[in-house]
């Protein structure tokens, strides 16, 4: 493939006119520029996901992405080009992610990698992708570090990041509980500390002392009962619970058991009704607040919603074995739809440079399962596509959204 640059095309145009355009008719209407993995009929897209191993419950995200591309291909592809989605299992093991991603880049020659899942796994290939200038699009993780166009111009996030969420919780607490004594429960690693930083930044130096207990847990801990007891004893009246589902559920149950009734803010990581609240006890979960950016597929509020109906139709036709109560199956096609939008914007200039350029120029783009009003926006200096969320309160049966859309943009 001969690599045309924009400049040569532009420079050639006046000359063509001067020599009488019609004589040079074979010149295509729009110059095509192809990077690796692109032909007139196909665009190769790479991906890794946890199809096996401890995080394999999230593997359905990648399967749902594949289903979405299958649907696009059946509809004729993007500008006549089918998506060839090459997805490998990395078992959520970073060394394997590196191996599989190198295979994607060096053997399969994909144009870019999109929607690969996991924080440790994406971290492992972060440097490689940026050194080799291969776009690492819409990573399936909420870490804040993906929004760093200055140092990592080839990597871009997708979902609201943990620091944004932390800031939003802080703002909510300041507004609704001015006399708050806060306990934060978080995982003792980058993921947990990301949340904590968001909360502390959101409170600001003046109110940071409101956080009285910073309680960590390890994923190897049996329970977080001791942490909850400690918060109650310290006189906390707010708990910001950013634990993963299992520990989030334990904390909710323990709080109820020791008759501690704080304002309970639950993070987006652990707010699944089926995954956390049901095991914790629906009665125990009453009154908890959390934040959302996609429609909860189990919520009857959406059953007449056009976006929800589209999604059910999509699932029935293209991913019938997928679980329709699992939020991961909402996430997957929404990411894939964003990838397709980028490719549409690329037109026939399907180079790696243009892919990342277009990924960084999404304006008011929306997909069916985002909450009404939430849009995807990026600029060359803003690599955090989704920044808005809406708060919701659990009424004992389902989450009731309330209040306006909130923006927790970091930086």
């Amino acid at each position: 493939m001969k690599h045309l640059t924009r400049r040569t095309v532009l420079a050639a145009a006046p000359a063509a006119l001067a020599f009488g355009g019609p004589l040079l008719a074979p010149l295509p209407a729009r110059a095509k520029q192809y990077g690796p993995g692109v032909t007139d009929h196909e665009i190769k897209v790479g991906n890794t996901g946890p199809y096996s191993g401890p995080a394999s419950s999230y593997g359905t995200v990648n399967k749902a992405e594949a289903a979405y591309y299958k649907m696009i291909n059946a509809q004729g592809g993007v500008n006549g080009r089918k998506i060839n989605f090459v997805s490998y299992d990395d078992a959520y093991t970073p060394p394997k992610t590196v191996e599989m991603t190198r295979k994607l880049v060096e053997e399969d020659h994909v144009l870019f990698v999109a929607g690969s899942l996991g924080t440790p796994t994406n971290t492992a290939i972060w440097r490689y992708m940026n050194e080799h200038k291969v776009p690492q699009l819409f990573v399936g993780t909420g870490a804040t570090k993906w929004d760093d166009p200055k140092h990592h111009p080839w990597t871009i996030g997708w979902q609201p990041n943990y620091q944004s969420e932390g800031r939003i919780y802080a703002a909510y607490v300041l507004k609704n509980k001015p006399d708050a004594v806060i306990g934060v429960l978080y995982q003792d690693d980058d993921f947990g500390k990301d949340y904590l930083k968001g909360v502390l930044d959101g409170l600001g130096p003046k109110h940071a002392s409101m956080v009285k207990v910073k309680a960590t847990y390890e994923t190897t801990d049996a329970t977080v009962d001791s942490q909850v007891v400690q918060m109650k004893s310290a006189g906390c009246n707010v708990i910001i619970n950013t634990a993963i589902e299992k520990f989030a559920a334990q904390a909710i149950r323990k709080a109820a058991q020791i008759e501690w009734k704080p304002l309970h803010v639950l993070s987006g990581i652990g707010n699944s009704v089926a995954g956390t609240l049901k095991p914790a006890g629906l009665e125990n979960s009453k009154g908890i607040v959390s934040d959302f950016f996609v429609k909860d597929p189990t919520d009857p509020e959406w059953h007449n919603d056009a976006g929800y109906k589209w999604w059910v139709g999509f699932m029935d036709k293209w991913y019938p074995e997928g679980d329709k109560t699992d939020g991961a199956n909402v996430y997957g096609p929404s990411v894939a739809a964003t990838v397709i939008q980028v490719l549409k914007q690329c037109g026939s200039t399907l180079t790696r440079e243009n892919v990342i350029r277009q990924a960084a120029s999404l304006h008011h783009f929306t997909v069916p399962m985002l909450l009404p009003g939430i849009t995807i926006n990026t600029t060359p200096t803003d690599f955090a596509p989704i920044k808005q969320v809406q708060m919701a309160r659990f009424d004992g049966e389902r989450w009731q959204l309330f209040g306006p859309l909130l923006n927790g943009a970091v930086g």
């Binding site: 001791s226 942490q227 004893s233």
Partner: protein, 292 residues
């Protein structure tokens, strides 16, 4: 004071979890002289079987007995199929087999029952005990069951011919064989008992930590710590060790300022290292001497 009591009791409740696992580890160690890395996964698998039976409407206590029996047979089967051929093999070969078993059982759990957390019922209820919030009925029940289990094991090993035969087989296989004890079957029996104990502790732990394929991973680490502290050759010591680890861990997490919570496992392990420097066989362990 209330906080101190609450943390001690929370520590004991966690300790009961570790103690059950430590007990199962010691049972296999006594039989084969190796640590079984798949012990936790065996217990989780048993607990999933119990969950499935309960989901099908089987009453709790029938399920309980059934699962203990199934696990006993399953443990023997694993020994006969997987480890008997390896019993003269290198320790590394055994290690690889343990890790394989770990991986197979863990993936099988996820494949059959998926990875979402599941609630598991408790036979004791979860009401606060004696109207206090310090300890609930299930936690108290766990303490009682662990004590009963330990008592039964003591009676079995010190008061029955089979128990004596098992001890002989583990202690001195050659002599045991000469007096007519079927050493191979004694080993298998050790596996069976360990699997059954694992099943009991799995069913007791699941109501507290929720059931998922990785339920036992962390517990196994603390169980190891407890078993080593108490002595790998002493069932009673292992139980005490488990409780001790639970309490130390909680105390460190709550009362050691700044680093306590982050380093609580480290602190627990430091205590263990300190103990082992003084008593290498663990507090209650017997020193084994091997002829070279």
């Amino acid at each position: 004071m209330q906080l101190f009591l609450q943390q001690v009791l929370a520590g004991l409740a966690n300790g009961a979890i570790y103690a059950g696992m430590a007990l199962a580890l010691v049972m296999i160690f006594l039989a084969i002289d190796h640590l079984n890395f798949a012990q936790g996964e065996m217990a989780t698998f048993s607990t999933f079987i119990a969950w499935q039976l309960l989901a099908w409407g089987c009453p709790y206590w029938i399920t309980f007995v059934l699962v203990v029996a199934i696990s006993f047979v399953g443990g023997i089967a694993i020994e006969r199929v997987l480890f008997k051929p390896l019993h003269n093999a290198d320790i590394l070969a055994n290690l690889v087999a343990f890790i394989a078993l770990f991986s197979i059982l863990n993936s099988a759990d996820g494949y059959i029952w998926d990875y979402t957390i599941k609630t598991f019922p408790t036979p004791f209820g979860s009401k606060p005990l004696f109207g206090s919030v310090l300890i609930d009925a299930h936690e108290a029940g766990m303490l009682v069951v662990t004590a009963v289990l330990l008592g039964l094991l003591y009676l079995f090993f010190s008061g029955t011919r089979l128990g004596l035969a098992m001890r002989a087989a583990a202690h001195n296989p050659v002599s045991a064989r000469l007096v007519g004890i079927r050493v191979g079957w004694m080993t298998a029996l050790g596996w069976g008992i360990a699997a059954a104990i694992g099943a009991v502790s799995g069913m007791l732990i699941a109501p507290v930590v929720f059931l998922d394929p990785n339920m036992m991973f962390g517990v196994l680490l603390y169980g190891f710590a407890g078993a080593v502290l108490g002595g790998m050759t002493s069932p009673g010591g292992a139980v005490l060790g488990g409780f001790a680890v639970g309490v130390i861990e909680n105390m460190a997490g709550t009362f050691v300022p700044y680093v306590g919570r982050d380093l609580k496992l480290t602190i627990a392990l430091l205590v263990i290292v300190a103990v082992l420097m003084v008593r290498p066989a663990g507090i209650f362990g017997r020193t084994t001497v091997s002829r070279v």
